[in-house]
């Protein structure tokens, strides 16, 4: 009989747990005070991109600390939800909850491309301003959303300067490319090759690996020798393994590497990888070695509060929040979509990567820096070698 009792208790506990959570969150919807500005945020706290979730949260909170969590006299309330990783429908459910229950004035995120595509139709139908620090692809129904803003530039524009640099400065004439089999990687490679081919360069091989790839050695041993190898972007499982496999096949001596995101090699990982990655070139907006005051101030305050080195994506989130705060200041805290949209469009601000402004197609314009891995004072660092000023995206956008 005793065992039956335990079972019964478990069942009752079980049901009460689920019933209990419903009113809790429903009641939550009742707190509608207009004094504070509510900002809803979708972050990848679980799933394959969980490493950036925490970093985004830190950077945003850092930006809010700098204004004391207040703008135009109103308190700012940050409501953070997990966008989940693989299940793109979860991001949409959370967006609905933020809009309908928490009555957020504007929505930040989600980060992962799939989640962004599934949330986009919902946010544009309400409408609600949706500022993102993930890079937009050329996909029309993403970049076509009238209330969508992207702090970083598009994928192809991000790697366009790298293609120019490779041809003009390094005298590279032929390249072979590798990337994961999804549109983010296609467009990163496309940006590089558009610039490279427009100068007269030749692409002799393109390889695409599944997103969940674990072992890149077969692709590397299948490489055709060219002046350089270009990496689009690789699925999370083993992107770092590619570099050590590249080294184990002795290819660093034969072919320099150009990568499209400096974020692929964050600083803790670089120290682990060691000297083999010296000379790898990449392109990014924010680098810890930048000299401008905003960059140094962001770096120092991030390291002081979180004891770790911020990377380019952290700077995107920090810049994103700074831009939003500037726009909210301009509108006196009013989050009406159209007024906020106008305010965002004429935000001009100096941010860690440099002077920032939105293009008419609502894509962020900041200077891009081609940089190289060098050992500076005993630590491996990304050192800028050439700066390209921010300019409107060459890819078609829809103002």
């Amino acid at each position: 009989m005793k065992e039956k009792k335990i079972l019964f208790v478990v069942v009752v506990l079980f049901l009460s747990l689920t019933i209990l959570t419903i009113p809790f969150s429903a009641g939550y919807a009742k707190s509608k005070n207009t004094k504070s500005i509510k900002i809803g945020v979708l972050l990848p706290l679980t799933g394959p991109y969980a490493m950036w979730g925490k970093m985004f949260q830190n950077s945003m909170e850092l930006a809010l600390d700098s204004v004391g969590w207040k703008v135009a006299g109103k308190k700012i309330e940050l409501i953070i939800e997990d966008e989940g990783g693989e299940d793109v429908s979860m991001a949409l459910e959370k967006a609905k909850k933020l809009v309908e229950a928490n009555r957020v004035g504007l929505l930040l995120g989600p980060f992962y491309g799939g989640s962004a595509l599934s949330v986009m139709p919902y946010t544009s139908s309400i409408p609600i301003v949706n500022v993102k620090w993930s890079q937009p692809g050329k996909n029309k129904n993403e970049i076509g959303n009238k209330y969508g803003f992207w702090v970083p530039t598009t994928y192809p524009d991000n790697t366009y300067p790298l293609g120019q640099y490779a041809y003009e400065e390094k005298g590279i004439r032929t390249v072979t490319t590798i990337g994961s089999d999804y549109d983010c990687a296609y467009e990163f490679v496309e940006g590089f090759t558009d610039a490279f081919k427009s100068k007269g360069g030749k692409v002799i091989q393109q390889q695409w690996a599944p997103l969940t790839e674990i072992d890149y050695t077969p692709y590397l041993s299948n490489l055709k020798m060219a002046d350089a190898m270009v990496i689009g972007t690789l699925g999370p499982p083993a992107k770092l393994a590619l570099f050590s496999q590249y080294d184990q096949l002795g290819l660093f001596k034969k072919m320099p590497i150009f990568i499209s995101e400096v974020g692929t090699l964050p600083s803790p990982v670089m120290q682990e990888m060691g000297d083999k990655i010296i000379g790898v070139k990449g392109v990014e907006k924010f680098l810890t070695s930048l000299k401008n005051p905003e960059a140094q101030e962001f770096l120092k305050s991030y390291q002081a509060k979180y004891k770790s080195v911020p990377d380019d994506k952290a700077s995107d989130a920090y810049s994103g929040m700074k831009v939003v705060l500037a726009a909210l200041k301009a509108t006196g805290g009013d989050t009406d979509p159209d007024t906020l949209k106008k305010a965002l469009l004429n935000v001009k601000l100096n941010l860690p990567p440099g002077p920032f402004q939105f293009s008419e197609g609502r894509v962020g314009m900041v200077p891009l820096r081609v940089s190289e891995v060098q050992r500076v004072g005993g630590k491996l660092q990304w050192v800028p070698v050439k700066e390209y000023p921010g300019r409107p995206p060459y890819v078609e956008t829809y103002p």
């Binding site: 991109y49 390889q207 692709y219 083993a238 184990q248 096949l249 034969k254």
Partner: protein, 290 residues
């Protein structure tokens, strides 16, 4: 010409990793009839533990392999004693239970080691490469891994075919009731084999990490491959896991080189074909239709 040699080497070394992973899974599946889907998660936990020991603390690589194995073995003990003991023969309960463990272990790893993927780490004597053919060089780590795979295969084969415990295990696989009838404490042997399987998974994680590094969704992606190998190789036999592993490794490496578009389908297609022609796998024991 070198392309073929390289691909064969890649296939065999990747196959060795798959063997390291699947030998444990195949044993536990064969001996206890339990399909432990969280085997991949144990592989990942082992790899993370190995990273902490080898890179974080900077200790000897082989100590990391041992540590990874022990932690995974301990988890295996908890799983077997606490849960699997009550679920003999209830296959869908087992599948659900092990799937629950995947969720738990992955989130625990996220909690303990954070989200940043770990770069491949290996013993100092194995990093680097050596010239084999033309101007191509080949990584020492991959050959070491292949070597470990072969050595483990020999040890497990000897353990299964020649030792007394091995005989008990094989008898148990054929007819469990009869083995128990002979007065052998089959439960104890089964538990020992389960923990051994998990130990091998954890150790394989560390060895595999010397090639692939460690990330959070390694548990799931490696599991899918492991299931294919166990089916192709045949459950319960060490030789099956080795042959299955090498075969799948070769299919994958040649698939990626020659027709990358369909390499992922290929693996599942092979699994389905084998399941239809010979459900017990290439080397597996004949399946009695109870």
């Amino acid at each position: 010409m070198e392309l073929i040699i390289l691909n064969v080497l890649n296939g065999v070394s990747f196959g060795a990793i798959l063997f390291l992973l699947c030998s444990g899974l195949s044993l536990t599946f064969g001996v206890m009839g339990i399909l432990n889907l969280s085997h991949g998660a144990l592989y990942m936990v082992g790899a993370y533990v190995g990273w902490s020991i080898a890179v974080h603390q900077g200790l000897n690589f082989w100590l990391a392999v041992l540590a990874g194995g022990l932690v995974a073995g301990l988890l295996g003990l908890i799983m077997e004693r606490g849960f699997f003991r009550h679920l003999h023969g209830m296959i869908n309960e087992q599948v659900l239970l092990t799937f629950g463990f995947i969720y738990i272990l992955t989130n625990l790893c996220l909690w303990i080691w954070g989200g940043v993927p770990k770069a491949p780490y290996t013993a100092p004597s194995f990093s680097g490469s050596f010239d084999i053919v033309g101007d191509w060089t080949y990584s020492k780590a991959r050959l070491v891994v292949t070597g470990i795979g072969i050595v483990l295969a020999a040890v497990l084969w000897f353990f299964q075919e020649k030792t007394r415990i091995g005989a008990i295990i094989r008898a148990g696989m054929d007819n469990k009731e009869m083995t128990i009838g002979l007065g052998i404490n089959y439960g104890l042997v089964a538990t020992f084999v389960f923990i051994l399987g998990c130990f091998i998974a954890g150790a394989a994680g560390v060895i595999g990490a010397s090639l692939f590094g460690v990330t959070l969704d390694l548990g799931m992606s490696i599991l899918l491959l492991a299931l294919v190998v166990v089916v192709v190789g045949g459950k319960g036999s060490v030789q099956g896991a080795l042959v299955g592993g090498i075969l799948i490794g070769l299919i994958i490496s040649f698939g990626k080189a020659l027709f990358p578009q369909i390499s992922t389908f290929l693996v599942y297609l092979v699994m389905i074909v084998i399941l239809l022609i010979k459900p017990s796998g290439i080397m597996g024991k004949k399946v009695q239709d109870r």
